[in-house]
Each structure stands twice: as C-alpha cells, then as structure tokens.
Amino acid sequence: MNKITGDSLTQNLRIQTGIKRGQVVEIDIEGRTVRAHEGETIGAVLAASGIRKIRLSPHGQDPRGMYCCMGLCHDCLVTVDGQPNVRACVTPVQAGQQITLQKGLGRFDTDLPQPPSARLVHHHVPLVIIGGGPAGLSAAIAAARWGGQVLVIDENSQPGGQIYRQLPHTFQVNNPATLGLDYLEGQSLLSELAKMSDRVTIWGDAQVWSVFNSRQLAVARNDELVLLDAKAIVVATGAYERPVPVPGGTLPGVMTVGGAQVLLKSQRIRPGHRVLLAGTGPLQLVVANQMLDVGVDVVSVAESASTRDAWRYIFDLLHHPRLLMHGLGYLRRLKRHGIPLLRSHVGNTKAFDVDTVCIGYGLIPSIWLTNMLGCKHAYNPLVGGWVPYFDNNMQTDQEGVFVAGDGAGVAGALVARKQGTIAGLFAAAYAGVIATGQAERIGLLARKQLMSLQKFRRAVDCIYQTYPAIYRNVTDDTVVCRCEGVKAGVIRRAIKKGTTDLNDVKKRTRTGMGYCQGANCMPTVAAMLSHEFRVKAEEIKMTTTRPPFRPIPMNLLMVEADS
C-alpha cells in the first residue's frame, strides 16, 4: 500500500483509503522537487512532506506551523513564486510553484509584475446569505424552495462550512462511508441545493470585507470589488475556535482541534503520528474518533468538564436519545481502543510524549459582520463571547438582517439547520418572495424541532462551559497575541498602567494589530480582564469593529469608485 521511498514516517500522513487524489503535480519547496496532487493545499503538502516548521516569526524568531488550518491565524505563511505572506493552509498547489519558507517578515520580490487593478461591479439582489455552512445552506434551500432568488457567498472554494467540509473536486471518492456521517449529510444538503441551481447562485472564494453606508456589502471576488445591495441579509458566518494560550502554544505541531478536523476532512491528512487532544466539548471526542478511524495513535483525550455535572442535565439530554447515544458511542469507542479519557483538574500535571497536540475549548461566534451591520449584541457567559440579539424569526434588531447558526450563538449543526430554515423563510418574506403568513406556516415544524434541539444543546453547553481555570496556565511568558508575538506579562503590565479598555491594550502593546486583527487574542485578553482584573462581562467593550474583515489585497481597492 505505502511504497516507502523516503522517510517512512512522513509517507503515512496522507490517508489513502476510500479516495483517490487528483493527478500528480510537481512543485518546488526550498529548491527540492516535491510531488503533490491537484486539489491539495500547500499546507497539506508541507505536512505530508514532514515540514512542520513553516516559518520563523518576525518578532521572536520562533518557529510556527499550522495552527488553525483554515486561513484565520496566518501562522502558516509561505512565499509562493516571489509573493510573500501566502497562507499555506488555504492555498491550492499549482504545477511549477516555487515555495520558499519565511524567516521573519516575508520579503517582496520587487521584480514581479504588478497585479491588475480590480473592476468595480454593482449587484442588486433580493436576498443574500453570507456563509455556506449548514445554516446558510438551509436558509438558501428554504428561501429558494418558495421561488426566491438567492445568492450565497462563501469564503472557501466549496460550500459546507466547517462541519460539512467537502473534498476538493479533483479527489475521487471511492468509498463515501470512510468519510463519515457529516460528509454524507453535507453531500445530501448540497445536492438538494443543486436541484435549485436556477434560483440559487453560490459564490465561492468570495469574501465580504466591509459594510458601507450601513447596508451595502463589499465583497472581494477574483479581481472584482463587488458592491452588493440586498433587500434581506442572512448572516450565517459560523464560529471559530476559542483561543486558549499555553506556554509553548505556538510550537509547530500544536493546533486547534477544529484545525485537525479540517486536515482530516478536507485534505485527508493525518494531523500527526502521536496525538494528544486536550480541552473541552464534544468536538474533541468526534475528532479523536475520526483520528482513530485512520490509524492515528491517539495517546489521550483530556477533558476539563466533569461527568458529575453531566448528570444534572440528563433530562434535557434525553430529549434527543439518538444524539445522546451517538455521543456516548464516541466515548465507548475510545474506551474500547484503550485510549485514556482523563479528567483534567487544575493543579494536577501529567506529561505525554507526542508530536501533535490538539487544543479545543469550544467555539466563539464570529460576529464581525453583525457588528458592522449595526446589530445589537450581548455578552453570553455560557458561550464565553458576544452573540447578536435575535427574535423568534431569527431577525436581529436591524430590520432585514437575519442570523442563523453558530454565528448566532454556538449551537451545533442540527440547530444551525433549523435556524437557517427559519431565517431563510423570514428573510424571503422580508424580501417579498413569500407572504409572512406563509413563512409562519412553513416554519412551524422547524420551530418545533428547534425548541427541542435547543434544550439538548443548552445542556451540552452547560456541561462543557469554559471556566476561568483554563486560563490559569497563561504565564507572563506565554504568547497571547500570536501575530505580533505579544506575551501575557506585557499585556498585564499595560492593563495596570492604563485602562481595561481593549482598544487601550491594543495601542499600548500591539496586541490585535496583526493579520488576524484580534480574533485569536482579544478573547483571551477579555478573559484576563474578567478573571484577573475583575471587570464585569457587560463592561468589557469589544474593540471597535473596522474593515476589512480579513486582509484584502490592495489592488482590489485600486478602482475608480463612483459614489
């Protein structure tokens, strides 16, 4: 099966069963010719080639590797054909690419040709859905089924979001069962959508980066700067991993549990050989099982929640016996394979000899867009982040702006789909596609299902809620802002010297001024304010939301704007 032509360890990282990768292409990595497959990302090829130290950070010269694996953290930056600061984890390989690894700041090859100026394009649509995960896709189906024209915008090359991640088109699926239930669910949702292709348009590789004039969306797409006006907007941008810094947390081989799942699902790459999972929440049980399925040596799963707490919620959990059995099934399977499930306490320490650590402490809703749209938010201590206010129709306090899915408060794929359906229906009603009464009637079933699911979900959230204790290991020497290399001690001193305003901390220390613009550090700083400086949750103001949502190429702005 695996012809060992080089380092036998690295050959194992590509999962072979059940799929056939795209055709072989050759790329050059640091002067060495490497075989890759069409459809693979540069990150996947680096991992499969045993290259874990992807760059040296500009501030501390410390090695960094793939951490989030989904284009958010910008730790995996490489130089491709002379263009620096390319995210390896989301960039597909192309034959003949020359890839060099960065030491410090990426250098710009001044001889390269200029990128083209972008074209400014205006679109008017009745209904736009931002985010093509379970919530967004369900909203699209609900709205399109009743005749509405729907535009779905997604930042990945293929829709599915995180949980329903699909394989690259160039990969051939021989045995779908090996890819897991989520893959099949996602496929079924996508094929339902495909039947409505006359009404549903999906823009992939499209990034909403700003909101202008309170409602107009600016979208970066290919070489276009798109200004989008929509009557109704559904925000289904999901959630992302709560960052929990630890000493050594920036080392190559430390990644988020969600990131490990992305490697497994959408590139069929094993995240490592000997893996420790640590954190809290059902996701790490799921991912541990997915690793087990493909022969990864899972050394242990450490969980910070107590099973004692679980019993308190047994009645709510029994609302969905099938889901409960599913969850228990994951636990049983790990036990059967002799993988120790440890309860991690504050104060006890155990050492493991591993090459990969997957850290997962739950998810935080992504609220940049609802912020830019002017929606009201409230801090939800269970979620450990801000969530937008929404009513029974999933409408925010801004008329015509709806939310659904993990972006509305982390609640899992099933809840996301029901919320998406409701949001899609009422957004369609707002856009005038169907009558509100119709939306009420059609949405009745989804509402019922949602209520019962939410009880289950709340119970899960209560069991797995994060506690201040998880931040106890943030020593003064621990890097909190990964992008700018800012350590906790510097942040603590700045708070003492100044104020508890996150904007102040940012100016004093540069925390949050890097590529991820605070996504991976500000939640930690907020937690520090709450637990160490006793600031009440409601008094912790978010940093001011500014465009762009993600870094955008300057050539996209080089257009003649008409007002």
């Binding site: 100026s117 200004l227 102040d504 762009p548 870094p551 704007a561």
Partner: protein, 370 residues
C-alpha cells in the same frame, strides 16, 4: 510653585503640558475620559517636518521649529524610544500641473532658507526606489522625521508621572466653574475637583467642554481615513507626501500607513469606499509595490481644525487661569512640545519665550468684530 493644575485631555497636547508643567515643579492632575491617545493622537501620521512657504505665519514656523528640535532632544528623558525614523520627506508631483506647483513651492521654501532640493522624476526615483515611473518631480526635504504617536504620548506622560503628576482615566468633565479670575471647581461625572489652573487640551471635543464658560471656539472635527497594510521589511525611511494631504510612511514595525484626506463629516467614525479607493488608486500608482500588499485595517480619526487653521493656545479672556491648548489640526504631534512648553511658561512665568499672540483664544471674537 506648588500650585495645582488640572489638565483636561490625555492626548498628545495634554500629556505634553503635563510633562512640561511637572518639570517646572507644579502638581499636575490629568483627567482623561477614555484612554491615552483615544482621539486624534492615536490615529495620527505623526509626521514632523520643518518646511514653510511664504503663506506660513512666521510665529507658526518658529513654534514648529522649536518643537521639531525639542522632540528629538526629549527622547532621552522618556522611558521608551519614540521609534523616530529620520529619512526626510519627498513632496511628490504625479502630473505636470502638480510638477509646476512643486516647482513654485521649492522656490518659496528655498527662499525661506530651507535646505530642500528639487528633483526631476528620474532623480527622485534614484533617491527613492519605491517611487514608480508616474513621478514627474519631487521636492526633497531632509528636515523631516516621523515617530510613533502613541509612544510620544506615553513618553510625556510617564516622565510626568515620575515627577509626581497623576492621571485618572474614565472621568468626564462636565463643566469648569470660574468666579472672578479664579477657578472655582472642575465638575466631573465622578465628583468635583479643585484647581488653581485648568488647561483644556481636548482636541476636537473642545467645543463640548467650553459652553459652561460661555466662550465659543471654532474648532471642528476633520475626519481623516487611514489604511494600514501588512508589515514588510524596512523599505524606506522617507515620508512620501502627495497632493491633497495624501502621504505614505512605513512605521518601525514595518507596516505602511496610507492617509489621509480632510473631510468634515461631524464625528461620523466611518470608513468610506470613496476615500480609501481614491488613495489606494493614487498611492499605488505612485508607489507600485503597494498594489502587492494586503490592507490590514482601515480606521478614521478626527483632527481638531480651527477655522483659521492655527492652533488655539492661551488664556481665556475673562479667566486668565483657564488655558486652552487645542485646535492643532494635522500638526498636533509636531507642535506638542512647544505647546506644552508655552503653557508651562504661561503658568509659571506669566509669559512665554516665543510669542503666542497669534494663537490667542480671543482672536475669533476680534475677527468677527472687524
């Protein structure tokens, strides 16, 4: 002198006043309603240049030159470096019309004694390789540097704190009550404070603080939008300036700062597509490498611009112990040191070394009387 001075405003002017006053031995208390440099000082380009034309009021030029020199000297007294980058500036012309204006400007500046040099396109590009082929001409002025504005505020403040000054954040001043020639009290949302002197250094918010005293000062918020790009290795130490107040500078951390027009949009803290595409367009044509970079964040700040474009420095006519230090427009960072020094001289010596009559508080009334 053991007198108590309350400074309202923790931006570059307020902290500079705190610095100079504490150096002269006064008890200083700064009241800041938000955080350090929360206003224009935290959004500033922080370009400090000695340049003038025949239009420049003489006393403004002299105040500017003093401040230019002082900030360089003061760095030694500060806890942290200011990230001073001394590469001079290039005033760039991108078309023939601009080139002829630059030519006129160069003649005037040289006539005023500035040591600047007019360069044609190719010469400008030899001096500054970042400039692209669209450059027609440029005026090179070696007397220009830029700093990190936040470090400057911190520097002033920390040195003042070491000399006994105090600062309180999160306090909003509601009114300053005066009686006869004296300060009766400063009323805030967290209680009243006594003071012998009050310095109002509240930038664009100055008109909101003053109605209680019955004076009107025409200072308006002038919005400027800024683009910050990703960081790259140091490519230039120079400040590149273009027409319509556009500029490019590369900070010590490697990011390029691109700014900034002057718009009057009240306090609407918004980024507009019109502005950022305009300067992305202009600047990327002038400095081609910009088109290859990614924009990381866009933000806006509000500079306090007075109706005649001059700062407002001096005592309030009917209350000499109430001093205004505001309205510095786009040059607050630059004029901070000489403003702070002048305010400290007013309070301690009763007069300033450099004349500041042209910046007087009552000039607007006098002007309207004419």
């Amino acid at each position: 002198m053991n007198e108590q001075v309350i400074i309202i405003g923790g931006g570059v002017i307020g902290t500079a006043c705190a610095y100079f006053l504490s150096r002269r031995g006064l008890e200083v208390h700064v009241l800041e309603r938000n955080h350090l440099g929360a206003g224009a000082s935290g959004a500033a380009a922080a370009i400090i240049e000695d340049i003038s034309s025949s239009d420049t009021p003489e006393w403004l030029r002299i105040l500017g030159l003093e401040s230019y020199r002082l900030i360089l000297e003061l760095e030694d007294d500060f806890e942290q470096p200011l990230e001073i980058i001394r590469g001079g500036s290039l005033h760039v012309a991108l078309n023939e019309q601009e080139a002829s204006e630059i030519y006129l400007f160069s003649k005037e500046a040289q006539g005023m004694g500035h040591n600047c040099e007019l360069l044609n396109g190719p010469e400008a590009r030899r001096l500054e390789p970042l400039l692209g082929p669209k450059v027609q001409a440029a005026l090179y002025n070696p007397a220009c540097y830029h700093v990190n504005p936040f470090r400057l505020c911190e520097g002033y403040l920390h040195a003042a704190l070491c000399r006994g000054a105090r600062i309180d954040y999160g306090i909003s001043v509601r009114s300053v009550q005066v009686r006869n020639d004296r300060i009766e009290r400063v009323v805030t949302d967290q209680g009243d404070f006594d003071a012998d002197w009050v310095v109002v250094a509240t930038g664009a918010y100055t008109p909101q603080v003053l109605p209680s005293i019955g004076i009107k000062i025409p200072i308006f918020p002038a919005r400027g939008q800024v683009i910050v790009t990703e960081a790259c290795p140091q490519m230039t130490q120079r400040v590149l300036m273009f027409f319509n107040h556009l500029y490019i500078k590369q900070t010590a951390s490697g990011n390029f700062y691109l700014g900034s027009h002057t718009e009057f949009a009240g306090f609407e803290n918004r980024i507009t597509l019109e502005k950022i595409t305009t300067y992305a367009h202009v600047l990327a044509h002038a400095v081609p490498i910009l088109a290859r970079l990614k924009g990381l964040r866009f933000f806006a700040g509000f500079r306090p611009i007075s109706v005649d474009d001059l700062p407002v420095i001096g005592p309030v006519p009917n209350c000499p112990r109430l001093i205004i230090a505001s309205g510095h427009g786009r040059t607050g960072i630059h004029y901070s040191a000489s403003t702070g020094k002048a305010v400290s001289e007013l309070i301690v010596d009763g007069k300033t070394e450099l004349p500041i009559d042209v910046f007087s508080v009552d000039r607007f009334e006098k002007q309207s009387e004419l």
